[in-house]
């Protein structure tokens, strides 16, 4: 009897974090859905180290197609704006489930961001292969109103915060709302894995091969023998580009970073290998070290 009580109490003690994990997961799923279903516009501040960029963000969904316009408001001469059609992220909820193996989720306080109430959710990495991620998710719509990536040394490497935002449900969603939930369009294909002479001997813990949109296939074909595959842990991703050295000039190893985004390029077996992703450099070095050439010697 005593033993049963003891076990029961231990389970009760653990129920808090477990419940937080489930609630956090639901909020992240809702957030991903909102990011791609909602019409929203506002001013977003993007902080990287000591640099601050202010951007105008307009996101609309028309006939199931997303349109996103992002313009930098920082310097008028250097402002950049882009309009692009984004692809569906219908697989995201699935990857969020798998990512709980490498992140612990905490649900925090309700805060005010951009004059709206939002719920803090923290995804804490269980190792040093990825950053801690902190979201404040709009209570009404699920849209992330602020987002931070924090290194294992407690330093915010990147931060996004809306200073003002207007959010609306798309018109077609309003009409369909009474009919129940509608799945977003599925445009992803199971590609993005090494198909050539290269293999990844060991995956970094928690990572798996991601998927690429169909629209990317033609881009790769234009890339003159450049192979591109993606690794993801459900929250962040790393692109690996491999091309024969003869098609590119640089011979030395280089690395750059911009906020949480790290880029590393080096050579192996007469190929140029470039990694781009929102992970610490050590993670990229690990991926690079585990890439092996299985083709004919060059």
């Amino acid at each position: 009897m005593k033993r049963c009580s003891l076990v029961g109490l231990l389970l009760v003690g653990l129920s808090g974090p477990l419940a937080a994990n489930e609630v956090g997961m639901e909020l992240l799923v809702k957030m991903n859905d909102a990011l791609h279903r909602m019409n929203y516009s506002g001013t977003l501040v993007h902080i990287k180290g000591e640099d601050v960029n202010t951007l105008k963000v307009i996101h609309t969904v028309e006939d199931g197609v997303e349109k996103e316009i992002i313009a930098s408001l920082n310097e008028s001469n250097n402002s950049v704006s882009k309009e692009r059609q984004t692809f569906s992220l219908a697989n995201v909820p699935q990857s969020i489930e798998s990512m709980t193996k490498v992140y612990s989720l905490d649900v925090g306080a309700v805060k005010q961001v951009a004059d709206r109430s939002c719920q803090v959710v923290v995804a804490r990495p269980k190792d040093k292969m990825r950053y801690l991620q902190k979201y404040c998710i709009d209570e009404q719509t699920g849209l992330p109103l602020s987002y931070s990536l924090i290194s294992n040394k407690h330093k915010a490497v990147e931060r996004f915060t809306f200073t003002d935002v207007e959010i609306q449900l798309p018109e077609h969603e309003l009409m369909l709302a009474t009919l129940g939930n509608v799945s977003p369009p599925q445009t992803l294909i199971p590609e993005g894995v090494p198909t050539g002479n290269w293999v990844l001997d060991e995956l970094p813990q928690g990572f798996y091969f991601g998927q690429l949109p169909t629209s990317q296939r033609s881009e790769v074909e234009k890339g003159k023998h450049t192979e591109h595959f993606v690794l993801t842990d459900g929250l962040i991703s790393v692109s690996v580009f491999i091309s024969p050295s003869s098609t590119v000039q640089p011979e030395i190893a280089s690395a750059i970073n911009s906020g949480a985004l790290n880029v590393l390029t080096s050579q192996k077996n007469n190929h140029r290998i470039t990694l781009v992703g929102e992970v610490p450099r050590a993670t990229m070095q690990n991926i690079f070290a585990n890439l092996s050439y299985r083709g004919e010697p060059q």
Partner: protein, 241 residues
């Protein structure tokens, strides 16, 4: 009458600084107070994370350990599942005898067992070489502790990929490499890859478009500075990781 808050008692309890009398009182509180139990779990988790994150810098817990926990709590403001009326300055109430669901000794043993389990996990983390093993947190449960390799293998099998045998990250040694700042040609190549990644591969990354535009703006600034003789701006493009 002291003005020590519940939170401070919990911290002291986890740090092994609470006396036996306070421990008994906390056990009584934990028996009936869901909020306290949640806080204990949260504090233990935060303490674990703080300890794990500080491993790379020191193997000894410094004097700021308790302050670090409190800072982390203040920053994340992990909420209890129910509102607390006497949150901030409430003193632990005097012991009130009431019918209890579980015998006090069992509650004490249960809490002690939880703390011991957490302490064991902490010690394991302590003596592991930095980054040679993944950090375990106090909230890990059997479902979460399933090796990630299992998940990866399932995904790979589903995708028809044969190779990969996921293992611990540092099992293959990463040779030290000196990375230089890229020259103009390399920079152009990298920019194409970055654009490609942000446009197509950041399927699981929040707001990749914002990063793309922000990066482009920085790049344009850097180029303009270089063209005007001002030198390339290094704030965002530094090679210092």
């Amino acid at each position: 009458m002291s003005h020590i808050t519940k939170e401070e008692y919990l911290s002291a309890f986890l740090d092994g600084e609470a006396g036996s009398f306070e421990q008994q009182r906390l056990c009584d509180q934990l028996e009936s107070d869901d909020v306290m139990r949640n806080k204990l779990s949260s504090y233990a988790l935060i303490g674990e994370v703080v300890r794990s994150q500080s491993q790379s810098e020191t193997l000894l817990v410094g004097e700021s350990f308790l302050a670090g926990i409190q800072d982390a709590i203040a920053e994340d403001e992990v909420l209890p599942e129910q509102p607390v009326a006497e949150e901030a300055a409430v003193v632990i109430p005097a012991k009130v005898s009431r019918p209890s669901l579980f015998p006090k000794q069992i509650v004490g043993y249960a809490v002690a067992a939880s703390v011991a389990a957490i302490a064991t996990m902490s010690l394991q983390n302590y003596f592991k070489h930095e980054a040679s093993q993944p950090m375990q947190t106090a909230v890990m449960v059997p479902a979460d502790s399933v090796p990630v390799s299992a998940d990866a293998s399932v995904v790979n099998a589903a995708l028809g990929i044969q190779p990969v045998k996921p293992v611990m990250p540092q099992q293959r040694s990463v040779e030290p490499v000196v990375y230089s700042a890229p020259d103009a040609a390399t920079r152009d190549m990298l920019n194409r890859y970055i654009e490609h990644h942000l446009q197509y591969a950041s399927s699981s990354t929040l707001m990749p478009g914002v990063r793309a535009v922000s990066y482009s703006t920085d790049y344009a600034s850097a180029n303009n500075a270089a063209l005007s003789g001002g030198g390339v701006r290094t704030v965002n493009f530094s090679t210092d990781f």
